[in-house]
């Protein structure tokens, strides 16, 4: 009985948490269109955020997805070699990267770099009364801080995901060319044949949703920060943990939906 009540309470908390995220998103959306603040200044802040979130992530993102491309090619080659189907390495890499790993790894890297930073920034501002200061200056903290972050993430995550796709394929290509089964040209052609526009598009949509979720979680954790430095640390940790969990969950839902849609088609 005790157990049941605990599970009930935990589910209630989870639902309330997700409700809070949706509320923050809805409020930001409204403030985006009916902004009490100046639009040009809002855009400036969004661009500033986009530079930090997107452009700043490019080097590390390129490195990671490139290596992941190589790893997938290597792992695939193990199995494909036994079947004498090494020519399928290119399609294996392109499909697994564009459909799954590109957007997912993008999301994980952005959670580590930006989701945590959002929580820490807003959390610190809560502790130092900067949020109160914004409010007394008639600058709504959500309009001032959160809306630009949503904008930046909604634009930059899909871009980063496409870039990840590209770098991952490049990594696979390195293996393909070095192992001698492909020339650069033949690898590109094999990739092109395997790649379906629909896969890339699905990846982009996923990345967009991931971006919104990461922003909402990071900002919500920041706002709910308590009163001290320790609480900022706690908010940052839970922003990362909750974001990863939600991103994987959403990925699962998306994959199931795509699978079912394919079954009926």
């Amino acid at each position: 009985m005790q157990f049941v009540t605990e599970v009930g309470a935990a589910s209630e908390r989870s639902v309330a948490y997700v409700g809070g995220l949706a509320q923050l998103f809805g409020r930001s959306l409204r403030l985006l269109f009916f902004s009490p603040l100046k639009r040009t200044r809002l855009l400036q802040r969004a661009v500033h955020q986009a530079m930090a979130v997107g452009v700043g992530a490019l080097p590390i993102m390129s490195l990671i997805t490139f290596f992941v491309g190589v790893i997938i090619a290597l792992q695939g080659a193990y199995q494909l070699q036994r079947l004498g189907a090494m020519q399928l390495v290119a399609s294996l890499v392109s499909i697994s990267i564009t459909r799954e790993l590109g957007p997912l790894i993008t999301a994980i890297v952005v959670i580590g770099r930006s989701g945590s930073a959002f929580a820490a920034e807003i959390g610190t501002m809560r502790v130092t009364e900067e949020l109160d200061a914004l409010e007394t200056m008639a600058l709504d903290p959500v309009a001032f801080l959160v809306v630009p972050k949503f904008l930046a993430m909604a634009v930059m995550l899909p871009c980063l995901a496409v870039w990840s796709d590209f770098m991952g394929v490049l990594g696979g290509c390195l293996f393909g060319v070095v192992s001698g089964n492909f020339t650069f040209g033949s690898y590109v052609i094999a990739t092109r044949d395997a790649m379906v526009p629909h896969d890339v598009a699905a990846g982009i949509v996923k990345a967009l949703v991931f971006g919104l979720v990461i922003t909402a979680v990071g900002c919500q954790e920041g706002f709910s920060t308590g009163a001290g430095a320790e609480d900022v640390g706690r908010s940052t940790t839970s922003a990362v943990v909750v974001s990863i969990l939600l991103v994987i969950l959403i990925d699962l839902v998306f994959t199931v939906l795509f699978y079912l849609a394919r079954g009926t088609a």
Partner: protein
């Protein structure tokens, strides 16, 4: 501006009660502050003076009662009305609360950039004037983290002054400062009072500074007003709690226990 014989209050609180959870921190406060007046809210730690300030500027919602600022009840105001009121008030926070990611100059320019249509060059000049006023000229490009505590407070004053507010609120302006810097801050408040005939509400526990700058003093004790009146009147008060506070007499432990008990039973009554 000549004050009429019975001036309408600029800030007023009526039966103001604030609760944190089950515990009531302010027990029905009533007061009025008129135009051009400097009112000091005095009180020890935990007397509720910071809560009172936060409630007066709308950062805290009272559990009952009303706060009127320039005739608008801010406990019932819409978001738009509240924004309009907020553009007419300035609040200098205890720790400054400057936006850490912006240099000092941009901190002061922020409300002007967001709320006015002034040209950037005009705003630049205004920022320079405000900084000069608080004795920080030339510090535009410093980040708040590079300033000392006293400088940060003064920068916060400059930001509070940026929109030329009608009412200024100060939270503990001289707390945690050395005597010389604290005296400098008192002088600054007196200057502002003389130069702009601004309405000012200062929350502090520094006695010397309070009697220096106040027209009127409100002494808060455990969430209730124990004395209110012109500075001289409060200074001469015979009320035991007032005397204790002004004469800096420590609570006896016995008293503490009784007061502690009262703290818990107040909510029940």
């Amino acid at each position: 501006m000549a004050a009429p014989s019975t001036p309408a209050p600029v800030v007023s609180a009526r039966d103001l009660r604030v609760q944190y959870g089950d515990r009531e921190v302010l027990h029905g406060l009533n007061f009025e502050i008129v135009h051009g007046e400097t009112v000091v809210v005095l009180g020890g730690s935990g007397s509720g003076k910071s809560t009172l300030l936060r409630t007066l500027v709308g950062l805290e919602k009272p559990s009952s009662g009303a706060v009127h600022i320039k005739g608008v009840d801010i406990t019932r105001a819409s978001a738009r009305e509240m924004d309009a009121i907020r553009k007419k008030i300035g609040l200098a926070f205890q720790g400054g609360a400057l936006i850490g990611s912006l240099p000092v100059g941009e901190n002061i320019a922020l409300p002007l950039l967001e709320h006015t249509t002034l040209k950037p060059t005009t705003i630049e000049v205004m920022v320079r004037i405000k900084l000069e006023q608080v004795g920080l000229s030339g510090f535009e490009n410093y980040s708040p983290a590079q300033l000392s505590g006293g400088m940060r407070k003064r920068a916060a004053f400059a930001r509070a002054l940026a929109m030329d507010p009608e009412i200024l609120f100060f939270d503990e302006p001289s707390a945690g400062l050395d005597p010389i810097t604290a005296a400098g801050i008192d002088d600054l408040i007196l200057d502002l009072k003389k130069a702009y005939s601004m309405t000012m509400v200062v929350v502090t526990h520094e006695l010397a500074s309070a009697f220096l700058i106040a027209d009127r003093i409100i002494l808060l004790d455990r969430g209730s007003i124990v004395a209110m009146g012109p500075a001289q009147e409060v200074r001469d008060s015979r009320h035991p709690r007032v005397r204790q506070f002004l004469d800096r007499v420590a609570d006896t432990t016995e008293d503490d226990d009784v007061d502690n008990l009262r703290l818990f039973t107040d909510g029940i009554r």
